[in-house]
């Protein structure tokens, strides 16, 4: 159990680490992201240490050491390091996988590990002499130019700025100062009160103070840092060691809204002499004038304090978010949740049975009571199902990395745009969706989006865009992967399909039918015929995966402009609102969301399985014929149930309409695996079994049934409703 928790936690942390790394790559280094990465590595190491998983501890330790240097500004994050850290994250992932499979003592790949470790150690070799610690201000110490001047003072200089919430968080700066004083001698301490607002605006429980401290001690940096360990998240702490470079003081002064004032404080404390201060200020000026236009300088002077404020605010907000997070989530084992869902399923069935009994007894109070119960059961069902719902972002979050890696590999510039990541769908689907999506994304990048020069020639922006989008639509979840690449070439697909004997040359197909051909087995294995032909696994596997989730894949494409692969999935796999119909003496259930309307068939003109409904032709299937059920003596009037899936409609002809019903889906036995028209079974209130119709397949069947009709006509009958 604990092992599973460790594995899961580590994976979440690795995902967070990866996100932070990608954020740095996209937006440049920021201290928050660096800290997030460090924390992730640190926590993984700590947790693994508890279980003595030494392979992971020793590896993560090196990663952590490098990160520590980054955090301390001894190392700068460059492209190579980002790639290295991403790869290290992957390797830690492999180690975590090993733990999951109880093979924690087997090194997944020694050669890889050695390679990564050597690369990491290369960063660790030359220990930097002077360092600036910035717990929260890494972004504010842009001073890179080394001037070589060092100040004469042999005191440490500490600059502390507390965030407003520090007191409310139960931390008081004073004891920290006392503790510091115990480590050496506070030569000079200046309390900064500039941040204190006027009385009306002052919140007595917020902290407005900052301290500049000159400190003499034998202790080393680590010990001094250790003093502020607990308050590190609630304060900006900079520590300058004795004889620091003047540059570092410039860096410090630069962070102050009023540089002159800090300078005076530094002089008063003996950190700098007056002469040194003048040197600092003049150098600062020279640099400013020498390197930057006046405008930039002005902006900088206004922006610097603002950035500090923003950093403080965002940290504060993060803290709140974190708190809210802790209260919002509890971790529950999936199996427990499944057990609950199963029970709710049984409850739904039992409730339906009670309702049937109540109706038979004709006892109005009993009926009323059972009505109330079934309403509640319905709510419980909905609530229980939402427990299993997770945002699709869980799948999407893998893709920034994938897109980054593949676009580098292919030498294409590809930007990923993710929308609708908070669209929810069933947890079990999320897991199964990952691989098909990955395949589609890879295909889109590999074959959909053109190389940079080809794009320029085609008059497009040099960088391609890949979009992942998700949304809810009438009881299904729709996931789209779109690229702005060259689109599908329908002629080539068609000629290839004819060549492979998938279609006959005289068949006339609609565009979507042609695109659908690439899902056919045997098509994808062809060498790069279409722009979407695969790498190993073909699109037919994608289609199979999606269909196993009772979903459907559709392709939209405009040549030269791009392709969209649209996946449509049912919201849940466990319970549906069904519509009961009767054919002969058998009961069938149609998912209610797909039912558009019910009409009386006899009043409409019907011929060759096509009915004319309000002037539009609608293909239909007679369920009695389809399932070869006997025609009962008392011939009732037939009803037509119009169903829609995606954008196609068809009619189902049944004997009787029975009404709505909550159906708990029970899988069909293996014998029925190949029965495409049925998607499952359910148990009715009276204990009988009803079969659930697979509307998606029925619609396809309805539109292809009249084989004696020319194909062109059939295709035209698929009425596009939207």
């Amino acid at each position: 159990m604990a092992r599973d928790a460790l594995v899961q936690e580590s994976r979440e942390l690795l995902a967070a680490m990866e996100n932070a790394l990608l954020e740095i790559e996209a937006e440049g280094v920021n201290a928050e992201a660096v800290n997030a990465i460090f924390r992730a590595a640190h926590t993984i190491k700590g947790s693994a240490g508890l279980f003595a998983f030494n392979l992971i501890v020793s590896f993560t330790h090196i990663v952590e050491s490098v990160l520590d240097r980054v955090r301390n500004n001894e190392l700068t994050v460059d492209d190579a390091m980002l790639s290295l850290l991403l790869n290290c994250g992957d390797y830690i992932g492999a180690l975590v996988d090993a733990i999951e499979h109880k093979r924690e003592n087997d090194e997944p790949n020694i050669a890889r590990r050695t390679e990564l470790e050597n690369a990491l150690n290369a960063y660790l070799e030359p220990p930097a002499t002077t360092v600036t610690v910035t717990a929260a201000e890494a972004e504010e110490s842009p001073v890179e130019v080394e001037t070589g001047h060092r100040v004469g003072s042999d005191n440490w200089h500490l600059s502390l700025r507390f965030l407003p919430d520090v007191l409310r968080n139960g931390l008081d700066p004073i004891p920290f100062l006392h503790y510091l004083a115990a480590l050496g001698r506070i030569v000079y301490l200046h309390t900064l009160t500039d941040a204190m607002p006027v009385a009306e605006l002052m919140d007595a429980e917020s902290c407005y103070l900052g301290f500049e401290i000159d400190f003499q001690t034998e202790a080393d940096r680590k010990t001094i840092e250790g003093v502020f360990e607990f308050v590190r998240d609630d304060a900006h702490i900079r520590i300058l060691p004795p004889h620091s470079k003047i540059d570092e003081y410039i860096g410090l002064i630069n962070t102050m809204p009023d540089p002159g004032r800090l300078g005076e404080i530094l002089v008063a404390g003996g950190a700098l002499t007056q002469h040194e201060l003048e040197q600092v200020l003049s150098e600062q000026q020279e640099k400013a004038i020498g390197q930057k236009p006046i405008g930039a300088l002005l902006v900088e002077h206004q922006v610097v304090p603002e950035a500090v404020v923003t950093a403080a605010l965002s940290r504060q907000k993060q803290h709140e978010d974190k708190k809210a997070h802790e209260q919002k989530f509890i971790k529950v084992e999936v199996s427990k949740l499944d057990a609950l869902i199963d029970l709710v399923g049984e409850l739904v069935i039992a409730g339906a049975a009670a309702t049937v009994v109540a109706q038979r007894k004709k006892d109005s109070t009993f009926e009323e009571a059972s009505q109330t119960i079934s309403t509640l059961v319905e709510h419980i069902r909905d609530a229980a199902l939402t427990l299993r719902m997770v945002p699709i972002g869980e799948v999407f979050q893998r893709f920034p990395r994938v897109v980054r890696d593949i676009s580098r590999e292919l030498g294409k510039e590809i930007e990923l745009v993710v929308t609708g990541a908070d669209t929810e769908l069933d947890k079990s689907m999320v897991e199964k969706l990952s691989d098909p999506l990955m395949h589609i994304v890879r295909n889109a990048m590999d074959h959909g989006i053109e190389a940079t020069d080809a794009r320029v020639v085609a008059g497009k922006s040099p960088g391609g865009t890949l979009r992942l989008n998700a949304y809810h639509e009438s009881g299904s979840v729709v996931i789209e992967v779109s690229d702005d690449g060259r689109g599908l070439n329908r002629e080539r697909i068609l000629s290839k399909a004819i060549e492979r004997g998938l279609v006959s040359p005289d068949q006339i197909l609609t565009e979507s039918e042609i695109y659908r051909l690439i899902f056919e087995a045997g098509f994808s294995t062809a060498e790069q015929v279409t722009n979407l032909s695969g790498r190993g696994v073909g699109m037919d596997v994608v289609k199979k995966n999606i269909e196993s989730l009772r979903g459907d894949v559709e392709i939209l494409s405009v040549e030269g402009q791009g392709t969209t692969v649209r996946i449509r999935l049912p919201l849940t796999l466990a319970i549906i609102d069904g519509f009961q119909v009767m054919v002969s003496d058998a009961v069938f259930v149609i998912p209610l969301e797909m039912v558009i309307e019910c009409v009386d068939l006899s009043s409409h003109e019907a011929r060759h399985n096509i009915v004319k409904l309000r002037g539009e032709p609608l293909p239909f299937v007679r369920l009695r014929e389809l399932f070869e059920l006997p025609l009962l003596q008392h011939s009732e009037r037939e009803s037509l149930v119009v169903v829609q899936y995606g954008q196609q409609r068809a009619g189902l002809v049944v004997d009787r309409l029975l009404g709505e019903f909550q159906a708990v889906i029970k899988p069909l036995g293996e014998l029925f695996q190949n029965t495409k028209t049925l998607s499952g079974s359910t148990i009715l209130g009276d204990g009988r079994v009803a079969l659930i119709l697979d509307v998606a397949h029925l619609i396809q069947q309805a539109s292809h049934l009249p084989t004696h009709l020319p194909a062109s006509k059939t295709a035209g009958l698929l009425s596009n409703q939207k």
Binding site: H190, V198, A204, E205, L209
Partner: protein, 107 residues
Amino acid sequence: MPISEQTRDGHPLALLMGGFTIFEIAELKDALLHALHMAPDTLEIDLSGVEELDTSGVQVLLLLKQEAARLQKSVHYSRHSPAVLAVIDLLNLAGTLGDPVLMPNGS
């Protein structure tokens, strides 16, 4: 009552007792600001009863000084308790708080 008010040498005097920390600070801030606003020109605050002073307490002491200056009044702190002295000493605020502080011998 953590504060009791009386008069000394013709000006109002606030006598602080017990803790002067985050737990009582919101109330104390309002009470002391009120006392300052009520005072004709000078308010004396007697700190001899303060058993504990934390950062929030220091902030209110500073705030009162600042507010007094804004109102063109003055605030005097007197008879600092050892707890107050320790903090003022540590934070090097004897100057800023600007009052005659009696430094105990030998420290």
